[in-house]
């Protein structure tokens, strides 16, 4: 409901919308509309309310300054070690350095621009100035070592939750942790873990969320997108960051306390194309079959042509286009 109100305000950004009109559009009382507007105000949306005219969403502003960013982070994690850079080579590399001396339970390295963003296995990650959230989060999850791989799925659910709450946009998850919007990649997650044989010592999660990007290098054009490119709107990165950190805390607490069984249905609710034909490339071979989702450990299940189910722990998957 709240996201629907926000949606209507966004679609009519320069106009006042009366409480009466909003209530008829949404099928609720004017009091309910008023309450939802109050919640949006609490969350930092600048909504003008004028008697006899109604509500209007004020012009977008995105003040992603060091003070504002650190303020947002400390509001959730008062004791976190925080580093902000207006430009950095790679937040992930800097987070590794931060971890060497860090005593806090949580750490964050965030940059307004990455000049050498790091993807998995040394791949580069496109991250232009002012357009996205490029952040590396350091945590020390208290979980048994054999559960470690599930951390990637937990992070994916946390990002989906934050984006949904702030923007109303539903990202989908391509196993295990690529986040897509209309089938194109909108957010990349790189999870690196330091562990002993018997315990997880620390985890550095790099999250690159394309927010207000309007353009990508040509070679990425049919693969990558941003929240803005798919909706035609611009979003407040500061609010998104705040929601992201909240959501990471919530999902990881839940996971540490209750285990993967509670994360699994949340992950599945956002999962991309269950039941679709997919191609899964492992290092040795390529599997084609039906996406049968994940098992209780988060491992990908693919049903091969002979009806057998294969469990895949390491694979890159892609959807096979319909033959029509």
């Amino acid at each position: 409901m709240r996201t629907s109100i926000l949606q209507l305000l966004r679609e009519n950004q320069n106009e006042f919308l009366s409480g009466e009109w909003l209530s008829s559009q949404l099928g609720c009382s004017r009091t309910a509309v008023w309450k939802h507007i109050q919640t949006l105000l609490d969350r930092g949306y600048e909504i003008e309310a004028v008697r006899n005219k109604g509500y209007r969403l004020k012009v977008f502003s995105d003040a992603f300054t060091e003070d504002a960013v650190i303020g947002q982070i400390r509001a959730v994690w008062p004791d976190a070690a925080v580093e902000f850079y207006s430009s950095a080579s790679s937040t992930q590399t800097l987070a590794h350095r931060l971890l060497e001396t860090m005593t806090a339970e949580r750490g964050i390295v965030i940059a307004d621009e990455q000049t050498n963003g790091k993807g998995r296995l040394g791949r580069s990650f496109s991250s232009q100035k002012g357009e996205g959230i490029w952040v590396s989060i350091v945590m020390r999850p208290n979980i048994p070592v054999h559960q470690m791989p599930q951390l990637t799925l937990v992070t994916a659910t946390a990002v989906c939750k934050a984006v949904r709450e702030q923007t109303g946009i539903e990202l989908t998850i391509k196993w295990p942790n690529d986040l897509l919007l209309n089938g194109k990649k909108c957010c990349g997650i790189l999870t690196e873990v330091q562990s002993d044989p018997d315990q997880v010592k620390s985890m550095i999660v790099g999250i690159g969320l394309n927010v207000n990007n309007n353009d990508f290098p040509e070679w990425l054009f049919d693969k990558a997108t941003s929240l803005s490119m798919e909706t035609g709107e611009r979003f407040d990165r500061l609010q998104l960051l705040s929601a992201l950190i909240h959501s990471m805390e919530t999902m990881f607490s839940l996971y540490e306390e209750k285990g993967f069984s509670v994360i699994k249905p949340i992950w599945e609710a956002s999962a991309e194309s269950p039941g679709a034909n997919i191609r899964a490339r492992t290092r040795e071979r390529v599997y084609e079959g039906i996406n049968r989702g994940i098992d209780d450990d988060g491992v990908l299940l693919i049903e091969k042509e002979n009806g057998e189910i294969e469990r895949l722990l390491s694979a890159d998957i892609e959807k096979i286009p319909d033959k029509s």
Partner: protein
Amino acid sequence: MLKIQEIRELIKLIDESSIDEFTFEQNGSKVSMSKNNQPTVQAVNQSGATPVAVPPAPEPAPQPPAPANAENQAADPAGASGTAAASAADADLVAITSPMVGTFYESPSPDAEPYVKKGDPIQKDSVVCIVEAMKLMNEIEAEVNGEIVDILVENGQLVEYGQEMFTVKRK
């Protein structure tokens, strides 16, 4: 290749029996089991298909058991005993084992130099390789000061829980 359910049943039967070691071969697939304090189970498919791993017990033994790797098993049907004999022969030789099932990577990226080579000196906190599962990159630290004597797995190979990846001469 045996199905997971069949392997599960085998484990159960062996577990309830007084048999300490068990090996079963069929069509190029081999399953070896041996009972230590905690039973260690490993399935190796010699035809090259994806090995099946039985997830570790929720509470692993304080000293994780080190099952023999595929090479040892091929050479020595007694499996784990081969490793034990080698360790007894040279107490300074220790293994770095994988803490999880996943893909072994020798370097941080395909075009980068390997983290370590044979003969390299290593410190406790030296990263020696990455084991990847479900896109989680686990940077494995040596946990021991010494020198890399042998690398037992190949880049891109699937490693099992507890599988030996490096032999290190302790210093």
